[in-house]
Symmetry: C2
DNA sequence: ACCGTTCCCGGAACCGTTCCCGATAACGCA
DNA sequence: TGCGTTATCGGGAACGGTTCCGGGAACGGT
């Protein structure tokens, strides 16, 4: 039942003009008479003509499409950020192609190759935790495909970046715990190679230092960004001879794991252990007890990154210098840390 | 810094052969001598040549890409289903283009237009709750672009469908509540136009009927698929002169809203009100009390739908008849309904 | 020695669109 | 009348591949 899609040539044939004329008429060129224009446009409408974007892409080497690579779309933070990307892209006439890296370097490379060969116009990306090497992104940039980082950024590449002030968020969260009287504050951090892991760890350490609390090596554990990782590290922490009286989780998944493990082990929050995390708000308020958290403007991050990207795409020359936008996180106090 | 991408013509020039020869050599045609093949392939590798998929698309009218439309990727059920879609698509050499309808007919239409003009090879879709009219999908099918429904299906179109046995899931959930001694069982259903809403409602009604419990009109409320919707409907239910002693929620979002509202209002689960829902497992076990739920094989649904779609795409002739696969849901009992 | 095959390869058309370069006719002006 | 200008359009190349058609050379068989 394949209906042949109708082309500019078909319109030209029916109107007995050349295809150049049709093309020009449809693009409202000044060198076509009003009457011819009208005839062409009318017929095009009648035949339900749509230009073939593939042909245009072949000619112009542009696709009006941007790519997004995130580790995992099931993660609320990223799905919300994608919402922000789509919002801006859609309003500026671009479509969005979404890729998941599943935190794997190989999938990220595969997506990059696809982007390059498909002539996607630009890329917004949160780097996979496994990607210590980002040559594939550099290569895209060298091919004239702009890349903008968000959330997980890298110093190894010169481009626009949008991230949240992780240092400050972690600092405030830790300081909050200290002010509520916690003395032995543990931190379950994310994977080591990720930039935000370092920023958050620094914030945590500096808050301790400011309040003259000794930093203890065994109270900082690294974990995958999964609930299971958070759970296992919590077991590990609570098994210590000197137990922490507070745990600060570096991501929403990890914090869910902490919460689950503590309940499993029979600890009360916040009395036995105070908990705070980088967390998705909608979810954390449903837990019992509701979890205090550092919330991040994920939707806005997607918007800003996309806006920067589209500016890069649409300006012919590379900008004099690249910008790093740092958005503020928000400290939301709930019962889990209120003692 | 735009590096020109290297083409078949460039290879032909450097090797002083025609571009037909290069094309054939790269496709390992039998009518090219082994020696020439080797020369071409070596140079192609050295120059880092990749064929331009856009040119091939223009020629073949195929893109090796499938589209997915879901209401909302932030919804765990759909993001997990997309995982299943990607899994199959990736392994069979296709890429995935993800669209969100945001439950809006207009966005669904826009995505369909994009799919048609971009020559996407096929579509996997969960219909938006607003879409009573699905002509845009019929039109795609008529243009030779196969469409497969999953989760939200429609009788108005003849095609492959993959759904879960909503009737049975709802029946079992309701019967479970009855067996735990609940007498006044309310149901917060999804939007009326959606097919699964009807199936679940029927299952609920039939379970009541089987156990000779009167069906009460005011105990069935329709809601959007949002937490807020669930919350508001719960207020409404608990405000009734004759309060329900159990609530069955039709989706995960709604059930989260129920849970939140009951806690807010000071009711204990399951003692005052038993709760069960169609729910995401990872999340429901974290709530307090953990919520009993009917879980759905979302990943597998994505896989099966995609597998059916790719079969349609790759077989030239339309199949004699279309298939509707009904997957089984799973009843997971937790504390919220154990009384 | 002649003819039919087979092996390799080049030329050109084609996919749908844009755009450069001309070409024609009408028109204005000296 | 002649010439430059303008308005309007057509022809064809180009984008990067695939594929049909055909053609030359080598080769084998009679």
């Amino acid at each position: 039942m394949k209906k042949v899609s109708i082309t500019i040539k078909e319109i030209a044939r029916q109107l007995d003009v050349s295809k150049s004329t049709v093309s020009r008429a449809l693009r409202d060129s000044s060198e076509i008479s009003e009457e011819t224009k009208k005839r062409v446009i009318n017929l095009a409408e009648k035949l339900n003509y749509y230009p073939n974007p593939i042909a245009i892409s072949l000619l112009k080497n542009r696709t009006q499409t941007i790519g997004v690579i995130v580790p995992d779309i099931a993660n609320r933070f990223y799905s919300s950020a994608i919402g922000g990307v789509e919002d801006i892209a859609y309003s500026r006439g671009y479509h969005t192609m979404i890729y998941q890296s599943h935190e794997l370097l190989e999938r990220e490379r595969s997506a990059s190759r696809h982007i390059a060969s498909r002539r996607v116009d630009g890329l917004v990306v949160a780097i996979s935790s496994q990607s210590t090497n980002i040559d594939h992104f550099v290569s895209l940039q060298e091919q004239g495909i702009p890349v903008v980082f968000f959330d997980r950024v890298s110093d190894a590449m010169q481009t626009h970046k949008v991230r949240v002030d992780d240092y400050k968020g972690a600092f405030e969260a830790t300081e909050h715990l200290i002010k509520r009287g916690c003395k032995r504050i543990a931190h379950i951090a994310g994977p080591k190679p990720v930039s935000i892991t370092r920023f958050r760890l620094e914030g945590y350490k500096d808050a301790l230092r400011k309040h003259n609390i000794d930093f203890q090596d065994e109270w900082v554990l690294h974990s995958e960004i999964t609930q299971q990782g958070g759970t296992e590290r919590t077991y590990q922490l609570m098994a210590l001879r000197e137990r922490p009286d507070a745990i600060f989780g570096a991501s929403d998944r990890i914090t869910m794991g902490i919460h689950w493990a503590l309940r499993q082990l029979g600890y009360r929050m916040p009395d036995d252990v105070a908990v705070i995390g980088f967390c998705d708000l909608a979810m954390s308020s449903l837990l019992d007890p509701p979890v205090s958290s550092v919330t991040q403007p994920s939707f806005e991050m997607g918007q800003q990154a996309t806006s920067l990207l589209l500016d890069l795409i649409e300006s012919k020359n590379t900008p004099v210098e690249f910008e790093t936008r740092v958005l503020q996180s928000n400290l939301v106090i709930n019962k889990s840390s209120m003692r």
